[in-house]
């Protein structure tokens, strides 16, 4: 990544607490990401990785703690502003199905642009370009229900990248992929981050993914693992 941007914190979540009923998913977890930085979030299943990602991306509102993006406190934004921010500045690849089942792959990928009032022709051209980059152009007309898990994962990644995000959040982007496809997807994510100086937050159980990150954040029981020494 670009050295002089290293210290420029773009995304900052501090001491985040989030519960679901009686389950305390996050107990003071923090995640801070510089512009252009690639950060891996790892930790055991249930440690709060997905929840932290959703809080940092402004999808979930934490009970306490502070979540900022480019200096803006997300808690001060209304729902409409938050969703506009997510659409324009963030690319989100969720762990579980987020494609619209009634739409074809190419329509799904074009959707963020169409919602943002880009014209139809250029939105679909861009969508096809991203499908091609992810080796998924042949799936353009398939619907999510007709695709394998790994195929829909690639479509979801194309959709997250189509709007040229400043931050790409990817929850287990290689989770449903075999080794060769994982390598391809990981390379595309890293290339895009390098080309556009987008920050990349990778929640992962895959050590190959964790290894390519600039930094690793380890969660355990809803908080950051204490870094000993280092």
């Amino acid at each position: 990544m670009n050295e002089d941007r290293m210290d420029e914190v773009l995304l900052d979540s501090q001491s985040v607490h989030k519960s679901f009923g009686r389950t305390e998913a996050l107990r003071g977890a923090s995640l801070s990401v510089a512009a252009g930085e690639v950060v891996a979030v790892t930790g055991p299943s249930g440690s709060g990785k997905s929840t932290l990602l959703l809080c940092a991306a402004g999808v979930l509102r934490p009970e306490s703690g502070r979540v900022t993006y480019a200096g803006q406190d997300l808690d001060e934004l209304g729902e409409a502003e938050r969703s506009r921010l997510r659409r324009r500045d963030f690319g989100l690849v969720l762990q579980f199905g987020q494609l619209v089942p009634e739409m074809s792959a190419v329509q799904n990928v074009a959707l963020p642009l169409l919602l943002d009032r880009h014209d139809k022709a250029s939105s679909f051209t861009a969508a096809r370009g991203w499908l091609e980059r992810l080796d998924a152009l042949d799936l353009a007309d398939a619907r999510p229900g007709e695709m394998s898990g790994g195929e829909s994962q690639r479509i979801a990644i194309a959709r997250a990248l189509v709007s040229g995000p400043r931050v790409i959040f990817a929850d287990e982007p290689t989770g449903a992929l075999d080794t060769v496809n994982s390598e391809r997807v990981l390379q595309v994510l890293l290339e895009v981050s390098r080309e556009t100086s987008a920050s990349l937050v990778l929640v992962t159980h895959d050590n190959r993914v964790a290894a390519v990150a600039d930094r690793e954040v380890i969660l355990r029981d809803g908080s950051n693992e204490l870094r000993v020494g280092a």
């Binding site: 390598e183 390379q187 693992e225 870094r227 000993v228 020494g229």
Partner: protein, 174 residues
């Protein structure tokens, strides 16, 4: 005689001299230590004395003598029976990593710190391997790197499980 079999495998594709053998070996097994010429010539001498390879040609045009070797029918047979015998799938003997981790745990020393440092060391190598995987373009080299990555990944998973068990143990006794 691991190197001998590898040399036979290369020679089966056609006669070659020592330098070719070294270069092809190093290309085929990018994650292994490059072969030293001494190893190549010692390997060839042994194969020749066992009748598995023979001298095909000796050239000397101004420069140093260049001997080209060819595989013999006995060599092909040896290569085939080597490939036919499956490698044992383990169990693997406890290596230094296991010895250190368990010793550290049983000493009651800071195993978490030990595991974190070890993970960082393993991840750094993983990073190099993933990068080299992106650079190679032939399937054979990719497959050799995959093997190193998979083994490293197994160690990393084991380290993660160890860290989880140590953390759970601490919660239980706290």
């Amino acid at each position: 005689m691991a190197i001998g079999h590898v040399l036979l495998g290369i020679l089966e594709r056609g006669p070659a001299h020592g330098y070719d053998l070294k270069r092809t070996h190093d290309e085929r097994f990018p994650s292994a230590k490059p072969l030293a010429f001494g190893q190549v010539y010692a390997g060839l001498a042994k194969l020749a004395s066992d009748g598995l390879v023979e001298v095909a040609e000796t050239q000397q045009e101004g420069g140093p003598e260049r001997t080209t070797y060819a595989i013999t029918p006995a060599g092909v047979e040896t290569l085939e029976s080597w490939l036919a015998a499956m490698e044992s799938a383990g169990p693997y003997p406890a290596d230094e990593l296991v010895r250190k981790t368990i010793t550290s745990l049983l000493r009651g020393a800071d195993t978490t710190a030990f595991l974190q440092r070890q993970r960082a060391t393993h991840l750094a190598v993983m990073r190099e391997l993933v990068a080299s995987q992106a650079d190679v373009t032939n399937a054979a080299a990719s497959i050799a790197i995959d093997h190193s990555i998979s083994h490293l990944d197994a160690d990393l998973r084991w380290l993660e499980t160890a860290a989880e068990r140590v953390a759970a143990d601490r919660t239980r006794t706290a």
